[in-house]
Symmetry: D2
Subunit: 117 residues, 4 copies
């Protein structure tokens, strides 16, 4: 599982910077309104869902076994994260801090029922 | 801009681990098929878009000025990232590596027209 | 099944007209750009999907048995059709003709394998 | 505007029947769970939105002037309606009645401010 591996590549803030430079060098900034980026994020998330729409739950667990569909899944995952980071960039949102705050709210909202408690 | 600040909180891999533990302790794993998580990701991305659907491009740039809508935007951004990380967790995808690879492909696909070249 | 019943209420063109009048009387037309209506349609389709995101395929077949979820499904279905008709209205698209043309293209694209053929 | 023209082609109930027969003859019914059809509807609505994601509000009003994009818009509109009707078919929902009921609820929810009232 990737989350347990030591990361060796660039982290999220560096990738966010590279995406911002990428857009700036291509003069794409006028198109990158928060509204347009939210639409693009939603479109990419749907492209990821499209891969799974006719699969059973079980088939969906095996989607990375086929190299072609594995590549497609990784590509759509990257697009979703790319638009999310560009959205956060233009609005000055710290996405990791937003997620940490949300996890803490959810820990209060969904308390774990401890056995025997 | 958040990307240029020194991160002080937990990074992406640690948040992904916390989300995985969160789901495991609540016995939500049977619901977390790749198919269901892709659907949930798409639904959350649409909830983010909903905030912007009737705004003009200009209004969308000011969405963080109002504390209420700023909170809502941060909350939906967190939900999108949360489901994206949970999706990547169940399929063993390294999302940062996927994004880095995508940025490199896009740099070849969309070459910058250098002035004078 | 509803499709086999004799329709007694208003048809699609009349409902499209009522929706157009509804928006005009409330001065909502400036908001009803094709871009905004496409976003709203997508958001409503996701709200319909949200009802099903954690259900199994089998559970999803029984969703109309519970009066509360049946009402919610009908409500979201109506919202999707409402925005689709408003989108078609502002762009002058005959949605029934578009669907008929699509069905005819699909009949050529996906020929039926006749038994014994 | 199409809504004001006399319809000459098949109505909604007939198209819904043709779609049901189309799926039955191709043995697609096992895939057509309400959950899968809701996902497919959402994916198609996003494909429609994709056409508009980088356009300004003004540009979005002119989208039917270009024959290529006009065809694409009609095609996606047809796909949205097709999946909506197939979704309603498998759940026994009368989509026109659902929309009529919704319009009536909205007329109460958003009363028109009459001038001088």
């Amino acid at each position: 599982m990737s989350a347990s591996e030591t990361p060796t590549g660039p982290g999220l803030p560096e990738l966010q910077r590279r995406l911002a430079e990428f857009a700036a060098r291509r003069d794409w900034e006028p198109f990158h309104t928060p509204k347009n980026l939210a639409a693009a994020l939603s479109v990419e998330a749907s492209e990821l869902l499209e891969i799974f729409q006719w699969l059973t739950a079980e088939e969906s667990r095996d989607v990375m076994r086929d190299p072609g569909s594995a590549h497609r899944v990784r590509d759509e995952v990257a697009d979703v994260l790319a638009y999310l980071l560009q959205f956060c960039e233009v609005l000055g949102i710290d996405v990791l801090a937003a997620l940490e705050a949300k996890i803490e709210r959810n820990e209060e909202r969904f308390p774990v029922e401890e056995p025997g408690a």
